[in-house]
């Protein structure tokens, strides 16, 4: 094959690839610049938990605490309850959040419905130690 033809064909391919490589990012950048207010809610969620001073103080020197949700957490299925659990664990590391509650007197309640928190506390003879947000509470045993 003629070298000139080869050059023309490969230049055409280069132009096509360049367009594909530049148009996608350029379009995405324009879209993101136009809607710059949007930030992933997960990042806000982590910031609220990780930067809560009372919660940090309460968990200082703790290795493991319990973690409770009012929705089923199935790590093979996914969903909002699982996302909240993972984000909470990420926010509070190096403290471990254990779904197996038996051995833990401190529990982080992370509920989808805030009205479900008090019944849970009464049922398990727990009290609020730290209110992190409407639906997130650090709870401990009563009588202290």
């Amino acid at each position: 094959m003629n070298a000139r033809v080869t050059g023309v064909v490969s230049t055409s391919i280069a132009v096509l690839l360049w367009l594909l490589a530049v148009v996608g990012p350029a379009y995405e950048s324009r879209h993101r610049l136009e809607s710059e207010a949007h930030v992933d809610p997960g990042a806000h969620y982590v910031a609220i938990i990780a930067n809560h001073p009372q919660l940090s103080d309460a968990l200082r020197d703790r290795d493991v605490i319990g973690y409770v949700s009012d929705e089923e957490i199935d790590i093979r299925v996914g969903g909002p309850a699982q996302a909240r659990y993972y984000l909470s664990q990420f926010a509070l590391a190096p403290v471990l959040l254990d779904l197996d509650l038996e051995a833990h007197e401190l529990r982080l309640l992370n509920f989808a419905r805030s009205e479900a928190i008090d019944p849970y506390l009464n049922r398990n003879r727990l009290r609020r130690l730290v209110d992190v947000s409407d639906n997130i509470v650090l709870a401990g045993p009563r009588g202290r």
Binding site: M1, N2, A3, T6, G7, V9, S10, T11, I13, A14, L16, L17, W18, L20, A21, V22, G24, P25, A26, E28, S29, R32, L33, E36, H38, V39, D40, G42, A43, V46, D63, V64, I75, R76, V77, A83, Y86, L87, Q89, F90, A93, P94, L96, L97, D98, D100
Partner: protein
């Protein structure tokens, strides 16, 4: 942020000195050496960080002092070895760029800048990256970082098996190291780390292919990588798949360069082993890749019965031994059981005969390829393949069958895991298949463009000769 970049520069400097202890690499172009240096340095510093954690001395000041000592030691070794290496040096090859080559290099640079800018905006909107970023990799990094690494073993706790407490440490140790330099666990450091591996992958594909098949093929390959929506889209996901893709690509490119260089085979093959070992330190799939290379090289040696071929896999194994030794310490001493292995039983093998699973996996592979590359790029690649086949069929790249066999074994391994997995197949495919393809995509594109360039040039030569 600036201190994180300083940490990356220290790694690159350390890697540069360590790389140049190997006779034979001096003939490689500076871009390729710089990229390989960064990859080597990041492995060295992550291993050092992990050793600090094991010894209980991973506070920021100690980590930085030990990094500086490693850098100084590497410089001293490099300076000491320099005269002996220079004596062995062949004349360095210089390549001359014509106008069209310069235009392709410029176009590639513009595309890289556009992609990096889009990635930074993506990071601004999604600072935590992808789900696995905060659920696995950066979570481990937090255990490695906080309280001077005092709680690092919690990363392997059975309480968080969902965080894959058997996964290797290169990425989280690297991120924790950047946090040590930065003085805080910001979201910027893992995003920068992630973006650096993305850019290194592009630069490695470009630099290696430029050496193997010329500037034009290198530019086309880099552009094709940047034009792959799922690959470019994961640049700031903060997960291990692009870092793994980088190390696997390094192993493949170094094997191809070793075959091309001939005389420097042992050095480059040993380096390929190191990169494959680094892949195993990055993610479990890297272990399969290292094994696949040993199998292919050993099979090649057995078939040809040549001493040079048999020394290939030995040199490869020597290079991989260091990273794999550290990995063995982590796996045997600290890591939990792999959930995939734990679920596996003899009864799982019965699934091999379920036709429906085969069709589901193959359909998913096809769909994933479409998502990874996008149909416009696939059409262009098909056009390139057809054109190069039309041009000639005689040209080939030395070592390409070996590299293709390695990628095929790796893909077959992924297929086999999906076939016998205890998990819901659709869920397993849906949550992992795209990232597995991302791991192999740069290596595949390098082989693709190396081969098409070789065929096209063979066609030109034949035509000119006639």
């Amino acid at each position: 942020m600036l201190f994180s970049i300083l940490a990356l520069l220290v790694s690159t400097g350390t890697g540069w000195c360590l790389l140049h202890l190997c006779a034979g690499v001096q003939n490689l172009p500076w871009l390729l050496r710089a990229v390989l240096s960064c990859g080597i340095g990041l492995v060295a510093n992550s291993i050092l960080m992990f050793c600090c954690l094991m010894l209980g001395i991973a506070d920021p000041v100690t980590v930085m002092i030990l990094d500086a000592c490693l850098f100084a030691g590497a410089i001293a070794l490099w300076l000491r070895a320099q005269p002996a290496i220079e004596a062995k040096l062949a004349t360095a090859t210089t390549t001359h760029r014509n106008g069209s080559d310069r235009a392709i290099a410029l176009a590639t640079s513009v595309a890289v800048a556009a992609s990096a800018f889009a990635s930074l905006l993506r990071y601004r909107a999604e600072p935590l990256g992808f789900w696995d970023g905060f659920a696995i990799w950066n979570l481990k990094a937090k255990f490695f970082y906080f309280a001077g690494g005092a709680h690092w073993e919690r990363a392997f706790s059975d309480i968080i098996t969902w965080s894959h407490n058997d996964y290797p440490f290169l990425l989280p140790a690297g991120v924790a190291r950047l946090w040590n330099y930065a003085g805080g666990a910001s979201t910027a450091a893992p995003a920068v780390f992630s973006l650096v591996f993305f850019l290194l992958s592009i630069a490695l594909a470009y630099g290696a292919l430029r050496q193997l098949a010329g500037e034009r093929a290198a530019g086309l390959c880099a552009l094709a990588l940047l034009a792959s929506p799922a690959f470019a889209g994961q640049a700031v996901w903060q997960v291990a798949d692009i870092p793994l893709a980088f190390y696997l690509l390094g192993a493949v490119c170094l094997l191809l360069l070793a075959k091309q260089e001939g005389a420097a085979t042992t050095t480059l093959t040993r380096l390929a082993g190191f990169f494959a070992g680094a892949g195993a330190l990055t993610k479990n799939e890297g272990l399969l890749f290292a094994l696949a290379i040993v199998v292919v090289l050993a099979a090649g040696a057995r078939k040809k019965n040549e001493s040079s071929e048999s020394s290939d896999w030995l040199a490869f194994a020597q290079g991989a031994a260091g990273p794999l030794f550290v990995l063995a310490i982590m796996k045997l001493g600290y890591a939990g059981e792999s959930d995939l292995a734990a679920d596996f039983g003899v009864h799982s093998l019965a699934r091999l005969l379920e036709v429906g699973r085969h069709t589901t996996i193959m359909a998913s592979f096809g769909q994933t390829l479409l998502v990874l590359a996008g149909w416009p790029l696939l059409v262009v690649l098909a056009g390139v393949a057809l054109w190069s086949r039309f041009a000639a069929t005689t040209g080939t790249v030395a070592g390409l069958p070996i590299a293709a066999a390695i990628l095929a074994i790796q893909l077959l391994g992924y297929y086999g895991v999906y076939l016998v997995t205890e998990r819901d197949l659709a869920w397993h495919l849906g949550t992992s298949n795209l990232r597995l393809f991302v791991q192999l995509w740069p290596s595949f594109l390098v082989l693709f463009f190396a081969q098409t360039a070789a065929q096209a040039s063979a066609g030109v030569d034949a035509s000119d000769g006639a």
